[in-house]
Structures are given as structure tokens and as C-alpha cells.
Symmetry: C2
Subunit: 84 residues, 2 copies
């Protein structure tokens, strides 16, 4: 069993109003050091050994992301993540 | 300037209907190897050197995530990511 993270964000050339709103909020609440924010979707998948990297690309590109306006990255996470 | 990824997901003990729906769709479309899906939010931040790891934890825990039902991970990305 392996864990896979798929992150989907809006393409950089497309306006991201949510990201802009978060950036403004961060500046207002005393975090001027943050210079840009893009918000997207994060998927934590658990997959068995039958799922290849090509399968993951197909899953990400056809089901999890909208190819027209979004770009994605697929990352296999070998060891368990420590979440807060 | 550094890039930081903040991933926010619903705590595992809380029902994730979106994740369940995606899992069902993946199984229907020929990906039985995927055994679990959790959907959350992904944030790509660009920060300057004034932003410390403590600042990032505060940003994630107070602004980007709802501590009651969500957990988060903060990852500093040193080199530029190659997105598809």
C-alpha cells in the first residue's frame, strides 16, 4: 500500500480570486512576508501495487483536475506523514 | 524567496463524503487499486525570508485550516516544482 498526494492548482496565467483574497487577509493580519498565494485542491490517495504512475497521471488528469484551467502534480509518499 | 505548500485535509475520524464520492467514481471508471481518497485544500505560498516556520504554522493553523475538523502539513519547497 502506498500513499500518493495529488495537488491541483489553477494555471498561473488564470486569475485566482481566492488566492488574492487570502493574500489580502494575510497582509491585513500581519504577515506581509507572504507575497503570493494560490489555492487549489489536495487529494490524499491510498493505492495498492496495481496502480502504476501512468494510472496516477490518468486519474489526476482525467478525474481530479480540469486540464483546461488546472495543472497538477503527483507525489508518491513513501513514509507515513506526520500531520499536526 | 521560497515556495511553501500547505495541505489541509479533514481529520481522519471525520466523515469525508467528497472523498467517498471520488473513490466510488474511481472504482467505476476502472481504478479498483485506489483504496481510499481524502480531499482537502492545497495552498501554494511564496514567502520571503522574514517568514519563519513558526509564522507558517500560525498561518496554517489560524487562517488556512479549521483546527476543529482539519489537520494540516506545511512543506517548504526548495527547488521549483515541475507541474504538468
Amino acid at each position: 500500500m502506498a500513499r500518493v498526494a495529488v495537488d491541483v492548482v489553477i494555471k498561473s496565467e488564470i486569475l485566482d480570486p481566492q488566492g488574492k483574497a487570502i493574500l489580502a487577509a494575510l497582509t491585513r493580519t500581519g504577515h506581509p512576508g507572504v507575497t503570493s498565494v494560490r489555492q487549489g485542491k489536495h487529494f490524499d490517495l491510498e493505492v495498492d501495487d496495481t496502480v502504476s504512475d501512468e494510472d496516477l497521471e490518468e486519474i489526476a488528469g482525467h478525474l481530479l483536475a480540469n486540464r483546461v484551467i488546472e495543472e497538477w502534480t503527483v507525489t508518491r509518499i513513501a513514509e507515513p506523514e506526520t500531520a499536526k
